[in-house]
Symmetry: C2
DNA sequence: GTATGATATTTTGTATACAAAGTAATAAAT
DNA sequence: ATTTATTACTTTGTATACAAAATATCATAC
C-alpha cells in the first residue's frame, strides 16, 4: 500500500467515491457521468469532479470522449480477454516471487485467509467468498515483496473487479476456486515458485470454458444508457 | 496503439508536451513544475495544465504533493529495481506470445529493426541505437497481439526511459545489447516462446552487475532543485 | 409518417476570481 | 550569531464565468 498522506484534496475524495461506485457496479459500464450532476450530488463544483474523472480515465475505469463527456468504461470482449491474460501473468509473477520471499507471518496470514474462504465456501455464500478471495489475492501480491508489482496487480484487479464478481455466480465456480487456492498455498509454502506460477495462471480465469462462461454472463452488466 | 481520436483538448496536448520533456530529461527528476509558470510558457491558463499534471501523476511521471505542488517523479533505487523486475516480466510475456502469434510481415519488420540496430552499433552511435532499440522493443510488444499488454509495456517503458537511456553509456552495453537481440529474434522465429522469454528476461537490465551499473550512473540524473 | 434543416438548449473545455494553506522574509530574543 | 515568532508573499485548490461544441427540439418539406 502506498503511504496515503493526508490528501486534503477534494478531487481525490470524489475520485475514491466514484471509483467505489464503479467497481461495485452502482455505476455500471456504459453509464453516463454528467459533471454537473455529480457536482451537485456531491455538493462541490465541477472542478474537483473533472479532476477526479481525468484520474479515473487514466486508471482505465472511465472513458472520456472529447467534448462528449465521460462514461463508465465498457470493456470490449477481446480487450477483456487480453486484460485477464495480463492479470494471470502478473499474479503468476507474484506467486513466483512469493515462493522465494514470503515471510513466516505472511505465511500465517495467507493460510488464515485461505481458511476464511473455506468457511464462506461451506456456507455457500458467494458475497462473503468474493471479499475473502480478494483478501487472499492481495496477501499474495504483498508476499511478492515487490511493491510496484503489488500496485499494478491491485490496479488491474480493480478494473476487472466487476467482471470477476459475476464469475463466482457460475455453477460451482466457488468450489473449484477454493480447491485451486489450496494448491497455490501448497506450492508457495513448498517454495516451488514455478509450480505456484503455473497453478495461479490456471486459477485466473482466462482459458477456454472459463472465459466463455464469463462472456456469457456479460450481458448482465454493461449497456447502461445506450439508445 | 490506442486510436488517437482527434482530441480537441488542450490539456492533453499540454500533457503530451510535458511528458515529452520529462522522458527526454529536459525536465529532470525532482524538478518543480510550477503551474503558473507552465501556463505562461504554454500560453494557456492553469486549468489545462493542472489537468495534464493530474494525468501525468496517474501515469507515474510526476508526483503531486497536496498543497505543495508537482515535481517530476523521482524514483527511489529499490522502486526502480522493482519496476525493472516487472518490465522484464512484461517483455518476456510479449516474447512468449509473439513466438506463437507473430505474422510474417511482423517477422520482417522485426528483422529489419534488428538490422537497423546493427548499423548504429557498428557506427558506435548510442543515440541512434537508443531510438532503434526502442523501435525494436515496440515491434516485439505489438507482435504479442495483445493490445492491452502492448499498452502496459509501452507505458512502463516510458517511465523507465530516462534511466534506460543512461544504460547505453556504460562500457560495452550497446554491443552486448545487440548480441542479445539476435538471440531473441532467433528464438521468436523458431517459435520457441519459453526460450524467447528467458532471453528477454536476461536482456532487460535487472540482475546483478547490470543493475549495479545503472545505479552507479543515477547521480547524473535527479536531485534537481532540492535544497 | 419520415426525413431534413434551422434554432434552442445543454454540456464540455478554458479562463478567471478568490480563499486557504504553504513558503519566505523579517524582526526580536536569547 | 543562531533561533524563534510574526508577517508578508506565493501557490495551490475550488468556485464561478464564459465561449464553443455537441445534443435536443421543433418546424417544414417530401
Amino acid at each position: 500500500m502506498e503511504s496515503k498522506q493526508r490528501t486534503s484534496r477534494r478531487s481525490e475524495q470524489m475520485g475514491d467515491q466514484i471509483e467505489e461506485r464503479i467497481v461495485t457496479g452502482v455505476y455500471p459500464p456504459g453509464m453516463r457521468l454528467d459533471e454537473t450532476e455529480l457536482a451537485n450530488s456531491f455538493g462541490v463544483s465541477r472542478t474537483p469532479i473533472r479532476e477526479a474523472l481525468i484520474q479515473l480515465a487514466s486508471a482505465g475505469l472511465v472513458e472520456i470522449r472529447p467534448r462528449r463527456g465521460a462514461i463508465v468504461a465498457e470493456i470490449a470482449q477481446n480487450r477483456l480477454y487480453e486484460m485477464f491474460e495480463v492479470m494471470a501473468e502478473l499474479e503468476a509473477m507474484c506467486g513466483r516471487l512469493a515462493a522465494r520471499r514470503i515471510t513466516h507471518p505472511e505465511q500465517q496470514a495467507l493460510m488464515a485467509a485461505h481458511q476464511a474462504c473455506e468457511a464462506a465456501q461451506k456456507a455457500n455464500d458467494p458475497d462473503s467468498y468474493y471479499h475473502l478471495n480478494e483478501q487472499f489475492h492481495q496477501l499474495l501480491y504483498a508476499a511478492s515483496h515487490n511493491g510496484f508489482l503489488e500496485e499494478q496487480a491491485n490496479a488491474l484487479g480493480k478494473r476487472l473487479r466487476p467482471y470477476r464478481r459475476l464469475q463466482l455466480r457460475v455453477r460451482d465456480r466457488m468450489n473449484s476456486s477454493f480447491a485451486e487456492h489450496a494448491g497455490i498455498v501448497e506450492a508457495i509454502l513448498a517454495q516451488d515458485g514455478d509450480l505456484a506460477a503455473t497453478r495461479i495462471t490456471a486459477h485466473v480465469v482466462v482459458q477456454g470454458q472459463r472465459f466463455a462462461d464469463l462472456v456469457a454472463t456479460l450481458p448482465l452488466l454493461g449497456s447502461a444508457g445506450r439508445s
